[in-house]
């Protein structure tokens, strides 16, 4: 059966907009710069309820009073907020008719990652009939989820569909005045994901699988809210291991996770945005606030991140361990090459009794890059008999890069135990010689050694992404030695 590809595409496009609140928005763009009017414009375009507009305005006014933080170990020219366009209606990317029109370097990377041809087309915006497959798979997933009462949709959609849930939880983990970038996001957030897992439900699929097919363009101020109701489980994967060539310079996202009694939320992310060129020109500035709260007893939140992209990364996925016996985990691999800079780590705030947290951070620096771990472990007075174990390892490739560790530990009780281990190592000439002698080229050897080094973190990723993430690590470090 032959179908006209154009019709299929139209169907698909319409399918995405079926909830209607997008339909009256054409290719509108907010005027350059940020004023109260910009905020009102965004809210109106999204047909938001009054309370959400007020939330945004409130955040905007707070933001005006705040100043950009300077404590991070990052150097960049001042960001000119009045030169940014804060809202562009969901843009249709320029449609390409075949892969021949796609940047060959991008195709080369796709191939190295082992991404199928059809998926390559989808990711780079080429019109394909393969979309049919994706759509049918997507529908199957949606039905499976709906049957269980799971709500999984875009943030804007959730505002229309389940406003009460959004209102109940929005900003409860990351208050709008939490920090400069959080305030900015709260004022102008574009879109993102919303996920609610009802009581006692174990989400039957990795939401990552869904994502891979559904990879959406969420804009530069992403807002995500995940709620695990009592005794529920979900594994959620943000991002895409394929290289996303986003032209927006500034990204400031917020992710909030709420885990109620005995709920478990596992959040994984692979971030591979444009890191700038080899001279350090261009690239994304990524200022993200990610935080989860283990609100109920015996709940668990786990963050796993693989960071290889962006010119600047400022990101500290954290867990507030409020419920007794709750567990927080943070597993991270951060790679910087050329002139990339990363200041990333985690915060574990222990409020409940017998709470446990683990931080495993693996930094890899190459080229002229700088890679910092920054973490806070806080044991409050009430958090008796709590434990933290932190391990922060740095691996250096070459002698022009930097690795830094800034651990902060605060304990207010006498029964908690906090352990911090840190190592710094280099890939030794002996290791390379050993690999070379077995016939392994230096480039492959570095890939092998780096993946071995990061194995503890990579094994936390959902299977289908772990393999790609491994390849991604090798690709990110290509040309870093020799």
């Amino acid at each position: 059966m032959e179908k006209d590809p154009n019709n299929i595409l139209e169907e698909v496009t319409q399918g995405d907009y079926k909830y209607g609140f997008y339909t009256d928005i054409e290719m509108d763009t907010a005027p350059v710069g940020l004023t109260e009017d910009t905020v009102r414009f965004i809210s109106a375009k999204k047909n938001e309820p009054e309370w959400l507009l007020q939330y945004r305005l409130d955040a905007y006014h707070k933001w005006l009073e705040m100043t950009e933080p300077t404590w991070a170990h990052l150097l960049h020219p001042p960001i000119s907020y009045q030169d940014i366009i804060f809202y562009a209606a969901p843009k249709k990317k320029k449609e390409l008719s075949s892969l021949d029109e796609v940047d060959p370097e991008l195709i080369a990377t796709f191939n190295k990652l082992g991404i199928s041809l059809e998926e390559q087309k989808k990711l780079s915006g080429v019109a394909v009939d393969a979309v049919i497959d994706s759509v049918s798979v997507k529908t199957t997933f949606s039905e499976t989820l709906e049957k269980q009462g799971i709500i999984f949709c875009s943030f804007s959609e959730a505002v229309q569909k389940v406003p009460d849930l959004v209102k109940q939880y929005l900003g409860t983990v990351v208050p709008s005045d939490d920090n400069y970038f959080a305030a900015l996001n709260s004022a102008v957030f574009s879109d993102g994901s919303f996920c609610y897992i009802p009581k006692g439900v174990r989400c039957p699929i990795e939401l990552s699988t869904y994502f891979r097919i559904n990879a959406a363009n969420t804009g530069q101020f992403e807002r995500t809210l995940i709620i695990g109701d009592e005794n529920s489980y979900v594994s959620y994967m943000e991002g895409c291991t394929a290289p996303m060539r986003d032209e927006n310079q500034l990204h400031a996202a917020i992710v909030e996770i709420v885990a109620l009694k005995e709920a478990e939320v596992k959040y994984s992310t692979v971030q591979n945005w444009y890191p700038g060129n080899k001279k350090g020109e261009g690239g994304i500035y990524n200022f993200v606030t990610k935080r989860g709260i283990c609100k109920g007893n015996n709940s668990k939140i786990s963050w796993t991140q693989v960071e290889t992209g962006s010119a600047i990364t400022w990101k500290y996925p954290s867990v507030v361990l409020m419920g007794d016996n709750s567990v927080g985990e943070f597993y991270s691999v951060a790679v910087t090459n050329n002139y990339q800079q990363a200041d990333t780590g985690s915060k574990m705030i222990h409020l409940g009794r017998n709470t446990k947290s683990t931080i495993i951070s693996k930094g890899i620096s190459a080229g002229f890059s700088n890679n910092s771990y920054r973490g806070l472990v806080k044991m409050t007075k009430r958090a008796e008999n709590s434990r933290n174990f932190s391990q922060c390892d740095s691996l250096l490739l070459g002698d022009k890069c930097g690795a830094h560790t800034f651990p902060y530990i605060k304990t207010e009780n006498k029964t908690s135990i906090v352990e911090h281990e840190a190592t710094t190592s280099k890939i030794s000439d002996d290791q390379l010689f050993y690999c070379n002698q077995r016939g392994i080229s230096t480039e492959s050897a570095i890939g092998l050694i780096v993946n071995g080094y990061a194995r503890e973190v990579l094994k936390q990723l959902p299977m289908e992404f772990a393999v790609e993430a491994q390849k991604l690590l090798s690709i990110s470090l290509e040309g870093s030695v020799g």
């Binding site: 002996d430 016939g439 392994i440």
Partner: protein, 249 residues
């Protein structure tokens, strides 16, 4: 197979090898003996291609190709294997993964497709059995937390997997108990074929009780000062290196 002519090598301006000549033919086992610090390991490293040394003079041909102009990994793919005296640890990299990468990179060099996973695992199992290695190697990280004996056995295992035409074993016997020594020697004996060759570097004669060499060389002060049959090893064991030293004066 291997032809070394008048090889002079130095490190940081200090001359270590002062005119080595060595011919190794297919099917032969050569033993290189000598006191510590006379250049045995340097010779092994230079053949493998370690770049910390300066080649001042001389030629090294392998199967007629100029080895000195070849990158380390190409030498390996051409069939040179070095059993390390001190194998390094590569944390987090399983032996399976390491060996598969090595086998496939060597196949790529020869224009072959990667080995299918099941075929590879069968080959690993076959070599383990041949070498009578009972330990569960596959999922352990390369040399990480291995005892001295395990490291050396792992070197022999890798040699069996890669099937080199020339294997140089650099003091593989050092630090081994008698059982481990037998496994190592047994491995070499089982892998001996008319079309491959071994150069066994050792400080002691002990290993040569199990691996019978065709030719024994004595390396002293950067030169091969004596070559002979296996009797030379016994003589050396009996009279000690002082004997060589005295005979040179």
């Amino acid at each position: 197979m291997l032809s070394i002519k008048n090889l002079h090598v130095s490190i940081n301006g200090k001359e270590i090898l002062r005119g080595i000549n060595l011919e190794v033919k297919p099917g032969e086992v050569h033993a290189i003996m000598g006191p510590n610090g006379t250049g045995k390991s340097t010779l092994a490293s230079v053949i493998a291609g370690r770049d910390i040394y300066t080649i001042d003079e001389g030629d090294v041909l392998f199967k007629g190709k100029n080895l000195l102009e070849m990158p380390i990994e190409d030498r390996a793919s051409e069939g040179i294997f070095l059993g390390f005296q001190y194998p390094v640890e590569i944390p987090g990299v399983s032996i399976t993964n390491f060996m598969r990468t090595a086998v496939n990179e060597q196949r790529k060099y020869h224009g072959l497709d990667p080995i299918p996973a099941n075929e590879f695992l069968a080959k690993m199992e076959e070599k383990k059995q041949m070498l009578e290695i009972t330990a569960k190697l596959a999922n352990r990280s390369v040399n990480e937390g291995f005892s001295g004996g395990e490291k050396k056995k792992n070197e022999i295992f890798q040699m069996a997997m890669l099937e080199p035409s020339l294997a140089i074993l650099d003091e593989t016997d050092s630090g081994l108990d008698i059982d481990a020594l037998k496994i190592v020697a047994n491995g070499v004996n089982k892998l001996r074929r008319p079309d491959n060759a071994f150069v066994v570097i050792t400080h002691y004669q002990r290993l040569l009780d199990y691996i019978v060499p065709d030719i024994v060389h004595v390396l002293f002060d950067g030169r091969i000062v004596r070559s002979g049959g296996k009797e030379l090893a016994f003589e050396l064991e009996e009279k000690g290196y002082e004997w060589i030293k005295a005979s040179l004066v």
